[in-house]
Symmetry: C2
Subunit: 491 residues, 2 copies
Amino acid sequence: MSKAITTREADYSQWYNDLVIRGGLADYSAVRGCMVIKPYGYALWENMRDQLDKMFKATGHVNAYFPLFIPKSFLSKEAAHVEGFAKECAVVTHYRLKNDPDGNGIVVDPEAKLEEELIVRPTSETIIWNTYRDWIQSYRDLPLLINQWANVVRWEMRTRLFLRTAEFLWQEGHTAHASKEEAIEETKKMLDVYAEFVENYMAVPVIKGVKTPNERFAGAEDTYCIEALMQDGKALQAGTSHFLGQNFAKAFDVKFLNKDNSQEYVWATSWGVSTRLIGALIMAHSDDQGLVLPPRIAPLQVVIVPIYKGEDSKPVIDEKANAIVHALRAKGVSVKYDHHDNARPGWKFAEYELQGVPVRIALGLRDIEQNVAEIARRDTREKQTVSLEGIDAFVEKLLEDIQENMYHKAKGFRDSNIREANSWNEFVQLLDEKAGFVSAHWDGSGETEEKIKELTKATIRCIPLHNPQEAGNCILSGKPSSQRVLFARAY
Amino acid sequence: MSKAITTREADYSQWYNDLVIRGGLADYSAVRGCMVIKPYGYALWENMRDQLDKMFKATGHVNAYFPLFIPKSFLSKEAAHVEGFAKECAVVTHYRLKNDPDGNGIVVDPEAKLEEELIVRPTSETIIWNTYRDWIQSYRDLPLLINQWANVVRWEMRTRLFLRTAEFLWQEGHTAHASKEEAIEETKKMLDVYAEFVENYMAVPVIKGVKTPNERFAGAEDTYCIEALMQDGKALQAGTSHFLGQNFAKAFDVKFLNKDNSQEYVWATSWGVSTRLIGALIMAHSDDQGLVLPPRIAPLQVVIVPIYKGEDSKPVIDEKANAIVHALRAKGVSVKYDHHDNARPGWKFAEYELQGVPVRIALGLRDIEQNVAEIARRDTREKQTVSLEGIDAFVEKLLEDIQENMYHKAKGFRDSNIREANSWNEFVQLLDEKAGFVSAHWDGSGETEEKIKELTKATIRCIPLHNPQEAGNCILSGKPSSQRVLFARAY
């Protein structure tokens, strides 16, 4: 490692960037706001994607692919949607380049202007519901349970690797239903799938809730979300699931013949998670030595580093290491034996710590003579000497322990950072001095919500599901309130 | 099925479209030249992608992701590349929409004009080699073996579903090497991977060869290709692998410190296959009843259709069918039991034939009493009565037979459609009356090649690898030639 990464205390934001770039996850690109996802980062995304895809298919969904481009007029068809998405977009206006007649390289051919501009999809409700009109005639065609893995573009002015980039990768589910009840059930089901994935695979605890009208997806009747807490006390929205009512069906005239033989508008949901989850993963678990990745989605679960002492030791250590590799692979564990002689063991240790590999096994000649190896776990950085006998089973168990420990540690942190505020002063003080979630009464008005945001930069992250009802007074307006909601400053 | 699909003889092109659309693979979209890949088509692509991805990883490659957009100036940096790709492109010129001050919906905000236009990637050599400059310093950083799964856009004027669409999905491998020899070896290795995939999984025989300079990828020193033959006698380029020399390294100034401690330009390859392969698959195998899909990549390998006779027969048939489903799934066979009562068996038979499901099992009460089932294979449309005892093993074997038979049938057709022409008249007559590949002498000049294309619409598909050397005279110019090359009209 060339030099130590920035510590969280010194500069949290720089620490995050150091981990992303030097941990080999992503890099800036030559295109403003767009990132390059490097092989290690992409392998992480592949693991996340594959697991989510399995869960989507297990809940009856299929994948499809819709066009990258959306005719400009489509964005205007749903009144709320246009407000939310017809803003910072990449707009395609021409379809041809030509040699500059004045010899200045290539220029856009002014004669190849599109009659109607195309928008690079910021989200695909419009193009998909325009397609569903042809696919849905009767209740027999429903439900339509379709997901898409795709790239989308939102022209963000301030970008941060993974957290907010102009282009990002995501999945977007778009389902069509014959009844309101079924669509709401689907919305909630997918929220549960997201929560299960983020908690059980990413080891990040989440709070399930519903957004206030102000924070809803543009075009939704209700937006459900999962909210996670980062180590700096800021919240991060990790996934959303929208009940769209009949808004898009009406905008794109998608009707079906119901069982009573009458025409009815179709009910819709949409739901998505993105490469932003990688940002959440990093900020939930990592430390000043680098990334800490949960075993279930880590691109590499175990690394074995030989401690060679002279040429003689090589064949002995290599043989034992290869036997461990073999045994671990047989158990489905991903493992790498790093026997390259281009770096000393200490350098390798630091590098794999930076990369967040959950388990490191160091193997020297003396270890082998004593029939042991040194095992270091990344989450706690604890080392222990373990018998080579049954080391594969030990590591398998250790990976499970690490997964669980990471979740419990993150949950402990999250739980201890939900605090109640009962006055405006207390509210502001908590936000400034402790950060985290602040549970407080709110009068339910968009104006108050907006005012609180202006004054404190804190937003209502969600109204938790099954929220206890409790009489109180709004921390800002003092008006009566029937429940607390969760505020936080957020990514 | 509402009505029969068009036959190949009546209208080959309409037959193809019928299969794509009514077989549920893809659909036209509201955006000119862009298609919607429907769930069944996408499941087919997923199977193809997953198998290719496995083969790429087995040959040491990793995936990454690079930006969708390419700064316009990048396209000009490699002289030949600009000629090939800076033409029909989607050009992003603005990054914001706004409400029309005159109240006509939304318009492009003229103040949000990009300083430099962005091109939606038609291929990613330029943005990737611009990135590699930062990733490669020394021979220790090489080889770099990276692949990307992505969408690309080429503004084609005449589009056909899968075969030629403005947007399509593909993979593009971009590798960097320390020596010319290693880069050429990589180029050939990936051609072999493609050939293995197309032959062994898609059951489509291919001819491996090298393109003439006229037909090379823009920016390549050599383009290797695999060429397949469709049932109408037209050729289709199924994959290409390019040796790029040091062209892109020079254009983007990518040097490395070699083992002799001196700076050298990096050697490059790129290689790709796309959703176009689905078009090849359809046209190589399908018939007038619909799609014929090879078992190894078919989204659904087996369908079981019950022949109910009265309510009493249901539980008996269902039980037996579910037992078969269970036994087949245990063998890793994908199988669906279609017990829906919304259609008669005959309708279902036709529907699954249209969809190209390799094996259909029909199961009635009398069959069960006799301990048999009727099995129909899609490739030959033969039916046979098979004992229920060990039916899972029978089907497993049958799927292998079908895979093999499809390959051999396609190979027989291909082989019998390679003909030698020894004069211009014979050449033209073969193209017009027989189609297929025509093997003929050519004088090696780009002018002659161009002239032949003008006169006949036939192009040189490739100079086959290990092509026998044989003295002769060019069919057009009469000039001496040392080998035959393969001509064909092509998709």
